[in-house]
Symmetry: C2
Subunit: 140 residues, 2 copies
């Protein structure tokens, strides 16, 4: 959803876009979009202004935004679940395995993010435009 929103903003590069229009494109509620935009603002990916005729726009060119940044801006929880209950204190495995797995999972997540870094928002838009036979001209 975040990529979708940023892609629409990239289409309208320079112009400000309202959350209502973005919500129309994603087919959801404007409040959902605004909550998403807050996260993207914190990551300095978009700039948003209140007021009549205003809205949001990209803060950087699409070629300078990669999907790992979007992932980090939006995804707050770890991809690997860690059990809620504490392990049995009398079991050496349960006592020590957590920190070992934390290292392994951190490495795996880094690998994932490094792969996402290879794709820019501009590249996504390029593919969407190339496959553009399926759409009309109007964005929003």
């Amino acid at each position: 959803m975040a990529v979708h929103v940023l892609a629409v903003l990239a289409y309208k590069e320079g112009d400000r876009v309202t959350s209502a229009l973005l919500a129309g494109s994603v087919n959801t509620n404007p409040v959902i979009i605004r909550r998403l935009l807050l996260a993207l603002q914190r990551a300095k990916l978009v700039e948003t202004c209140k007021g009549a005729g205003l809205g949001s726009r990209l803060n950087r060119s699409p070629g300078r935004i990669n999907l790992a940044e979007i992932y980090r801006a939006v995804e707050n929880s770890e991809p690997f679940a860690t059990p809620s209950r504490k392990p049995n204190a009398a079991c050496p495995v349960g006592n020590c395995i957590r920190e070992t797995l934390d290292r392994v999972f951190a490495s795996a997540q880094e690998a994932l993010e490094r792969d996402l870094e290879k794709t820019t928002l501009a590249a996504v838009i390029g593919e969407v435009k190339a496959a553009g036979a399926c759409g009309r001209k109007k964005v929003g």
Copy 2:
């Protein structure tokens, strides 16, 4: 939790272990463990038998089990959420972006799994044992 269970089974290599004992180590309910074991059986990672004095054991040596296999055995849903609602049909971005992102996400997930492949269950156990100062001798 799956890695934890398999690690305990590796500790008791050869011996059969009951779901009740495994549940004690993870500090959860035996039924949870049994459901987990079903997935690990499907992946041919463990062998389980019903009956008095029976239980589960590893089907392969810990050096021949890597974390990617465990991940695939247990994790059924995609790590990236795809929106439930259909996008606005009048928006070319919404129409085409899904398949582009599917490719990108599949690549990222492959990168993650390739990283997990580099760690074997034996390696995890080795680290746990090396940090063994924190535990007692009894497993289970």
